[in-house]
């Protein structure tokens, strides 16, 4: 029992607290009135009827907070609440603030908003067409983009970011190639569909602000709120209790400024707890149009690859710029390609804002890249696995000069998933198999701090800004502290996230916590250990080399001094603690962490499918997923992360698409939007975690949890292609789509 994650015990016993379990004294409830218009000028807002209802305290509208200006994380493009214009269906236009949620919701129906429709651009094509309506007239760059080259909006257009990276000479390589093949793929908008929708409590008191939010990046929320409302960072406190799923949908900043605005207006705590439908109108994965071209020589060696990715960023940029940049990096894959021409743009459209989502830009890129690989292999008459093996970059080889050399061996992962299927020989006539692989560069951002406090009774407190979103980060941090200090796991508690207590960290995402925050915890634990050992050195006058930590105290070689004895004798009182501090910066470990990526997040997937040819329905009876994770710290959590990512991949592959008709959301409810259920996950599912102990994290760990989502869709599509010769180029692969492709073939 002692090794069971304490957060899981809290959850299964119902004790775990999420935002909606919290009550702040004097708290009011806000209900958001949303735009039904795709793109419109707000002609009038009449809140008088709502205000006159009993129990309604106030109604926040744009003009109340217009003077605070706009906010953003890359581009400053977003008002606290719509001021004179709405840019997508679902955009907040008013918040009714009332004594109860019931009153707020009933009064919200009485807020009367007049809209004058504006020309709209609800798709990438329309937003990029000549004379397209501008969704934002100008782009204000915050110069806060954490990738090389900065944010690159194109003024006077809906293109809010373009990233280019060219290596070698693609034109010359194509001219010399034996074969050049081009494909076009599309990828839809997808909802994060976290079980817990966005919920925030904000409490503005004079010049200080406390926010309870399910935020993946509490320090980003803190920064944006501080700058937006002109508050000192130290006066903005962000508290993150348990979070019921994020997947990027709660990363950067979401509804925190909106709720803070409401609290500012009434100077009382205000809670906004969205429904899942509201959250489906809050953010989603960026859809994409991808053109990809590969040139190969007569032996099947890839000479050049070029890719152009257009990402549908929705009405506000959020972190769409980062998604675009990463999509261009992630379309390279684990291949050695001497000539590259990569371009990715993020485009404003009049739809729900795009946002980070588990492996930003990864599924879009890998869907295109790995489907394309099988097409190229088929075109040159080569087995797709052989074509991949021929072109893989080896361990230690770079896939692009400005990216860290590969720290893993993809042929090993391919071998492992193939072996997993070996018990059942060849696929039968009705069953077919497809493979896909991915190597992505997580934006690990090596900046984190941790505090580890060792108390007189041997109990240990770990304080970090990482959030516990179900992935097990808090237990992992506790495990790292326990291992470093040689104390039992049960002695360690990780504090719930609170920026007033926990030191700065960049945020929970990009598969970085185990490595970056984990290293800072390890350092903090070592610092605490050092302080304890120094006490013994001082007071017992023993050489430090003779001392070692053991469970409950310090061994001197001849005896074990308990922590209690050490503190009591050193301090002269029967109490005390040591406070260990650990920091990770790009300069840590002699700069070894500075190069990007810190590690490669890799995945190979092998799918076996059976198609009901009469209906077009695809069944996946068997799937194998392999990832090089360096070292597993918590096996159950690690396998859960890998399997959860793959299950999400099945949703992307077969079911999910947040649909818009000319900007109007069609299925933004949990009834109409389909995600896979446990019964839709392959009954035979093999999770292979390769451990070579060669990662940069504690014990040689690498980050994980975002890789397994990547190969699923192309692996299934490749199986379909291999069995029937049909190539699906847009997701999801619905039965009707597959049936039509099968019909066309006949």
């Amino acid at each position: 029992m002692s090794s069971v994650r304490p957060d899981l015990i809290e959850k299964v016993t119902g004790r775990a607290e999420y935002i909606t379990d919290l009550t702040v004294p004097d708290m009011l409830h806000g209900f958001v009135v949303r735009s039904p218009a795709v793109h419109a000028r707000i002609a009038s807002i009449d809140t008088s009827a709502a205000r006159s209802m009993d129990g309604v305290v106030d109604v926040l509208i744009g003009e109340d907070v217009a003077s605070f200006g706009c906010w953003g994380v890359v581009l400053k493009d977003r008002p606290i609440i719509a001021i004179d214009r709405v840019r997508y269906v679902g955009e907040p236009v008013a918040i009714v603030i009332a004594e109860t949620i019931e009153i707020a919701e009933n009064a919200a129906e009485r807020v009367d908003v007049g809209y004058e429709e504006l020309p709209r651009a609800a798709t990438i094509q329309k937003a990029m067409a000549d004379g397209a309506p501008l969704i934002h007239e100008h782009h204000e760059n915050l110069q806060d983009f954490y990738f090389k080259g900065g944010a690159k909006p194109t003024q006077g257009s809906n293109i809010f970011h373009t990233y280019r990276n060219n290596v070698g000479d693609v034109d010359a390589a194509e001219a010399a190639a034996a074969y050049v093949h081009e494909d076009h793929f599309t990828f839809p908008a997808i909802s994060h569909f976290a079980m817990e929708p966005h919920a925030v409590i904000a409490d503005f008191k004079g010049d200080s602000l406390t926010v309870w939010a399910g935020a993946q990046t509490p320090t980003a929320v803190q920064k944006v709120l501080s700058r937006l409302f002109g508050l000192q960072l130290a006066k903005v406190r962000v508290i993150v209790p348990f979070v019921g799923g994020g997947f990027g949908g709660k990363a950067s900043v979401k509804i925190e400024p909106l709720v803070a605005g409401a609290s500012w207006k009434v100077q009382r705590p205000v809670r906004v707890a969205q429904s899942i439908s509201d959250s489906m109108l809050t953010c989603r994965r960026l859809g994409a149009e991808v053109t990809i071209r590969t040139a190969v020589d007569a032996k099947g060696r890839i000479l050049a690859k070029s890719a152009k990715l257009l990402l549908d960023g929705g009405a506000y940029s959020d972190t769409g710029s980062a998604v675009a940049t990463k999509s261009a990096n992630r379309i390279i894959g684990p291949y050695a390609v001497p000539n590259l021409r990569l371009e990715a743009s993020a485009i404003y459209t009049n739809t729900v804002p795009g946002a980070a989502f588990r492996s930003i830009g990864g599924p879009q890129a890998v869907w295109a890249k790995e489907s394309h690989m099988d097409n190229v292999a088929a075109a040159i008459g080569m087995d797709p696995a052989e074509f991949r093996l021929k072109n893989l970059a080896a361990r230690g080889e770079r896939t692009r000069p400005d990216l860290r050399a590969l720290d893993m061996d993809m042929s090993e992962l391919m071998g492992r998933v193939t072996q997993s299927f070996a018990s059942e020989s060849q696929a039968s006539n009705r069953r077919s198999r497809g493979m896909a692989v991915a190597a992505t560069d997580p934006a690990n951002t090596p900046i984190a701090n941790a505090i580890v406090r060792l108390k007189i009774d041997g109990s240990i407190l770990v304080s970090v800004s990482s959030i516990e979103v179900g992935q097990g980060a808090h237990a992992t941090m506790a495990r790292i502290a326990a291992q470093t200090l040689k104390q039992p796991f049960s002695a360690v508690s990780t504090l719930r996230t609170d920026t007033a207590v926990a030191p700065y960290d960049w945020g929970t995402g990009a598969s970085r916590s185990t490595v970056v925050v984990g290293l800072s915890v390890e350092n903090a634990a070592l610092d605490a250990a050092d302080q304890i050992l120094d006490m013994v050195v001082d007071v017992w006058e023993l050489p430090k080399e003779s001392l070692s930590l053991v469970e409950g105290g310090v061994s001197t070689g001849s005896e074990v001094l308990t922590f209690h004895q050490i503190f009591h004798r050193t301090l002269g009182v029967d109490s005390g603690e040591v406070v260990g501090r650990g920091a990770i910066t790009p300069r840590s470990k002699k700069g070894a962490l500075a190069e990007s990526p810190l590690f490669w997040e890799t995945s190979a997937g092998l799918a076996e499918i059976v198609v009901d040819e009469d209906t077009g329905e695809i069944h996946v009876p068997r799937y194998a997923s392999a990832a090089d994770v360096g070292r597993v710290i918590d096996r159950v959590a690690a396998e859960g992360q890998d399997e959860g990512a793959a299950a999400m991949g099945f949703g992307h592959a077969l079911y999910e698409q947040l649909e818009f008709e000319d900007g109007q959301p069609v299925n933004a409810t949990p009834i109409d939007y389909t995600i896979p259920r446990i019964s839709d996950v392959p009954p035979v599912f093999d999770t292979i975690l390769v451990e070579n102990g060669d990662g940069p994290g504690p014990g040689g760990a690498k980050g994980m949890g975002e890789g397994a989502i990547l190969p699923v869709a192309p692996a299934i599509a490749n199986a379909l292609f291999s069995a029937y010769g049909i190539r699906i180029t847009d997701l999801p692969m619905t039965p009707e789509k597959v049936w039509r492709a099968l019909q066309k073939r006949k």
């Binding site: 949620i101 019931e102 919701e105 009933n106 129906e109 429904s275 439908s277 009469d614 209906t615 329905e617 079911y655 069609v666 299925n667 409810t669 009834i671 109409d672 389909t674 619905t734 039965p735 009707e736 049936w739 039509r740």
Partner: protein, 290 residues
């Protein structure tokens, strides 16, 4: 979201429930609430009063009556029907349909009557009940009346039931031959479903008559007259071929909506696929029985 405020009453007799709903203002019967509460929370249905019928005795009875008919109380949950020994013995296809309606939460509280009264076109029970030749008994302030399952749904989300009529029981003759039901779904609700019920001649080698209903394509389940016609009096082992011979024509006669569940031609095609699979199953069942 939350529903707009409403009153809540518990009735202990059918008459009380009917009169409570019929009072001034809009009242609605409430049992499982799996469709109703959702619609109220989405604020597409407003009601001033919910009348809870869960306390009325007898509405959840399942029996084989003296007239050799099955009676299913309207308030039976899908889960109850799925596990009921009478239904499992005489109408196993209905038991299995109910075992697979929606999701486990819906099945455990949602009722068959509520499902029918909601008039959702993409539903499982109306199709098979139509094929089973069921009649639905409604009780209102002026007594009871019986409506054939085929005539109950008027259009999408609309039935012939008056607001103050409570569906009390579903009655259909005990089937004498194979009953088959299949659906195709890729999401929460069925895109297409097909129910087929054969009545057998004495000796059970020939089909006396067949009822075939295709659901979810239009606003309500539709009969496949051409298929019913060709099966009449036919030896069982000729059934599959006979259906194939008239299938194209029969499918053409269906009224098919194009919606989020698929385009018209695809769903029409699926209806044929499901029907032929039902036929294979029915033939196989007959084979086992003889």
């Amino acid at each position: 979201m939350l529903p707009t405020p409403f009153e809540f009453e518990r009735a202990s007799t059918i008459a009380d429930a009917v009169s409570a709903v019929g009072q001034e203002g809009d009242g609605m019967f409430y049992s499982g609430g799996t469709e109703l509460l959702l619609a109220m929370k989405m604020r597409v249905i407003h009601t001033e009063r919910l009348v809870d019928i869960k306390g009325i005795p007898g509405l959840d009875r399942i029996v084989l009556n003296d007239a050799n008919e099955l009676e299913i109380g309207s308030r039976c949950t899908h889960m109850k029907i799925a596990g009921d020994s009478v239904i499992r013995e005489h109408v196993p296809a209905l038991a299995s349909l109910c075992a697979n309606v929606a999701n486990v939460r819906v099945r455990s509280v949602g009722t068959i009557g509520g499902n029918l009264c909601f008039g959702e076109p993409h539903a499982d029970p109306p199709t098979l009940l139509g094929a089973l030749d069921a009649r639905l008994v409604l009780q209102g302030p002026n007594g009871t009346r019986s409506v054939h399952a085929d005539d109950f749904i008027r259009s999408e989300l609309e039935t012939v039931r008056e607001p103050d009529e409570l569906m009390i029981v579903i009655i259909f003759p005990r089937p004498t031959g194979p009953i088959t039901y299949r659906r195709f779904k890729h999401g929460e609700r069925p895109s297409v479903n097909v129910g087929m019920v054969w009545s057998m001649e004495a000796g059970a080698h020939s089909i006396k008559s067949a009822r075939v209903r295709v659901g979810a394509l239009g606003s309500r389940p539709q009969p496949l007259k051409a298929v019913e016609g060709v099966l009449k009096g036919l030896p069982v082992h000729d059934a599959h071929r006979a259906i194939q011979s008239v299938l194209a024509q029969a499918l053409d006669e269906l009224d098919v909506n194009e919606d989020r569940h698929g385009s018209a031609d695809y769903k029409r095609h699926l209806a044929g696929v499901l029907l032929l699979r039902n036929a294979e199953e029915a033939v196989a069942m007959r084979g086992r029985a003889t």
